[in-house]
Symmetry: C2
Subunit: 454 residues, 2 copies
């Protein structure tokens, strides 16, 4: 759907609302795909939203809540009386209902849950952390027994509610509920009607335990190109299924989190249009942390204040050495963090990675060191200044490669997110090394520098 079509419908909705015509507004919205409808709905003023939402009907309200941002959905659902909320939740997939319940105030969630018809499907899904296999899975899946025939499986599918989601795969479980096989819908269709499921199923099933981290879930589903991934408990019993559309969200979430953390934004949920005060609360602490580390770097400069007092031109060049180190360190960091997210690097690869980045640092250092040395010499006419800045640059670019590699690997070995705070640490290292090396060398060579430039 094009943006202008959504805008066109929005104009109709607004026109209807101006005349107090709520049913008209609702039927205009209904012409949109649910995803577009949620976007259009979110663009309406809060008052209009509050007026429309309770009158939508349970199924339409459920569709809308599923497509809305989590916070907005919790807000809209929170305004419904709990009996109506229970009916709306009954219209959702169990995992979606569980997600929404988790975002509501506990008392209201308990109230609505108690009044739900399908609560037995939803209860087992509550209590799993959102970012694990258990938090992503749905309890709505199709389990066959190995002795069933292809024909009885088809009859079983025919008997399902037409509205239920199409299963991509059917799972086969034994009497204890242990997952023992998988069979595709088409394999069933093209088999002889009296063939047993056992004879057409594949016994090797890729599966994950219920506590698996969502990043690992995404990695498994992506690696093996799976449409759905079964989730098992400690005894190997099938307890749920994760569908591919949840994985796309996980991949986008994890990528956003990495991008944000590398840029010192602590909260992956922050968005362009998040409330201003929320943005400030999530960003300001990192700026303050950076300020503290900036004072550390500044105190290194402070050690050489006497040198700078004799030769102010050093203040002109010190930032070049430190800044370029920060840039090189950030490059290494980005590649390492992304490599870890995509499963390309393990902790056992540390030495190999360190040597590699050190070698790259040397090469970058030599080239950039010569360029900056020549630049400084030509600009200021002090050859020895070029030598000092060039040498400091070589050292700092090597430090950048090492810090950019070691920091994320160490964070991960400590079971922390490799992207968390790593940019702060790496740039502090390159600032300290950069300022220290450049001003330290300049202090050493000061007698040679002053007569020429002082």
């Amino acid at each position: 759907m094009e943006q202008k079509e959504i805008d066109g419908v929005l104009d109709q909705v607004r026109a209807a609302l101006e005349h107090g015509n709520i049913p008209g507004a609702i039927s205009a919205l209904a012409t949109l795909h649910p995803a577009d409808r949620a976007e259009a709905f979110a663009d309406l003023p809060a008052d209009d939203q509050d007026e429309i939402f309770p009158k939508l009907g349970n199924e339409a309200a459920a569709d809308l809540l599923v497509e809305m941002e989590d916070e907005d959905a919790a807000d809209a659902a929170g305004h419904l009386p709990s009996a109506q909320l229970a009916d709306v939740l009954d219209e959702m997939e169990p995992d979606e209902a569980a997600d929404l319940l988790g975002d509501l105030p506990p008392a209201q969630a308990a109230d609505a849950l108690a009044q739900m018809e399908d609560r037995d499907d939803v209860i087992p899904l509550l209590g799993h952390p959102d970012d694990t296999a258990g938090g992503l899975m749905t309890s709505e899946f199709f389990a066959l027994r190995p002795q069933m025939t292809a024909q009885s499986a088809i009859d079983f599918l025919r008997g399902l509610n037409r509205e239920a989601a199409t299963p991509y795969y059917l799972y086969v479980v034994n009497r204890q509920g242990v997952l023992i096989g998988i069979v595709g819908l088409r394999d069933i269709i093209i088999s002889r009607p009296d063939a047993t499921i056992e004879s057409i199923m594949k016994p090797d099933v890729i599966k994950v335990p219920v506590g698996t981290d969502q990043e690992e879930v995404a990695r498994v589903m992506t690696r093996y190109d799976l449409l759905a991934l079964p989730v098992v408990d400690a005894e190997g019993r099938l307890v749920g299924v994760i569908n591919y559309d949840n994985i796309v969200d996980v991949i986008e979430e994890e990528a956003t989190e990495d991008i944000y953390r590398l840029a010192n934004v602590a909260d992956g949920d922050l968005q362009v249009w998040s409330p201003i005060m929320l943005s400030v609360r999530r960003r300001l602490p990192w700026l303050v942390l950076n300020l503290l580390t900036a004072f550390i770097a500044a105190s290194v400069i402070g050690l050489f204040e006497a040198t700078i007092a004799k030769l102010a031109v050093l203040a002109v060049f010190q930032s070049i050495v430190a800044g370029e180190g920060g840039n090189a360190g950030t490059q290494t960091l980005a590649i390492m963090v992304r490599g870890m997210a995509l499963g390309e690097i393990q902790f056992r690869d540390t030495w190999r990675a360190l040597l590699r980045e050190a070698a790259i640092g040397v090469m970058h250092g030599v080239v950039v060191g010569i360029l900056v040395g020549l630049g400084a010499w030509l600009w200021r006419g002090i050859p020895i200044l070029g030598l000092v800045i060039g040498l400091a640059m070589v050292g700092n670019l090597i430090a950048a490669g090492l810090a950019g590699t070691l920091v994320p690997l160490t964070l991960r070995a400590m079971k922390l997110d490799p992207a968390l705070a790593s940019a702060v640490i790496v740039t502090t290292v390159t600032d300290v090394v950069g300022f220290g090396l450049f001003l330290g060398l300049a202090t050493l060579f000061l007698p040679l520098l002053i007569p020429a430039g002082g």
Copy 2:
């Protein structure tokens, strides 16, 4: 599959190779899932790879090539005689064959294509840019006619090669090949056998033109939770289908590209273990570009060299103002770039976004400005220095918010990637404004600063 299982199989493969037992090595590899097999194969020395690959058999070789990294696959395929390569390509899905052909030297690709049996499926896919809908689509899809009955559709599916991929959806086209509807596999199964396809299909099909950018394709498929997206030509004729597994790759690719570009790594294909010289070639130009902009910032400091010569402590604090501005600008940039990638912000939102980031900049500036002012005052005992650095910080954090918003929006309005070079430009702005404001204010207040601290 666990890493240790892959490692176990690798040990068996190596043991077999030591005894020159190629068939033994191949059958050990065959116990792995194709994705794991490709990883294990990539871990073998190049000599062993060259010995194993031609003896794999066409289907196994095709499976392996599909799972390998593009460059490695082109390299391995390039070593096959063109008749054998043609047979291997015939075992692949048409879109996979087209991708591999696109990575081979043109003469060899033309040679292999000429000898392929399925070349008519592959030829229409060649010549579409890799990063468009045409480059992502496969020509292997299932099109039904509206007059067919559900039973004849099932018979048609039964008649398909068992190895062919299961279709998620079936498309309905008219006599001219124009896409007029879509029907799910289960809808066919549960319909009366004599129902026509026209009566059970949904006529509203979400589709994209063949030239659509891959980012837009990913956005549409994610937004509407589609397993497959039909691709049409200018006349609305169905020419291909994009499957969801390609989209996961696109999303990861685009996220990697954004992360890299924000970190000044120009090439999204660069990986942790890319050849060292390739890494240097892709990263060094950005370091050199950064060096040039660092000289611009340094020349701003140079304007105030006389001030610094009189009061060296300014050199200690100048980097705090500039660096903190860089951090705040990078935060804004990350949120803007991610918001654009996920479709949350358009160019028409510029004013609203600018005002928002300016407001955030003021709030950050006031808090950080007071903290840095107090810090400087307490550390050096010069209250007026605290005032100067605090004011400069407020100004620079506002500049950071504005630059972090304007630069990516402007790049996108110019049809460039909003992440490309934006970090360089934003940090140059915050360096120039930071150094200029702080040293400029210090020069103004110099008579007040010197008696106290000189």
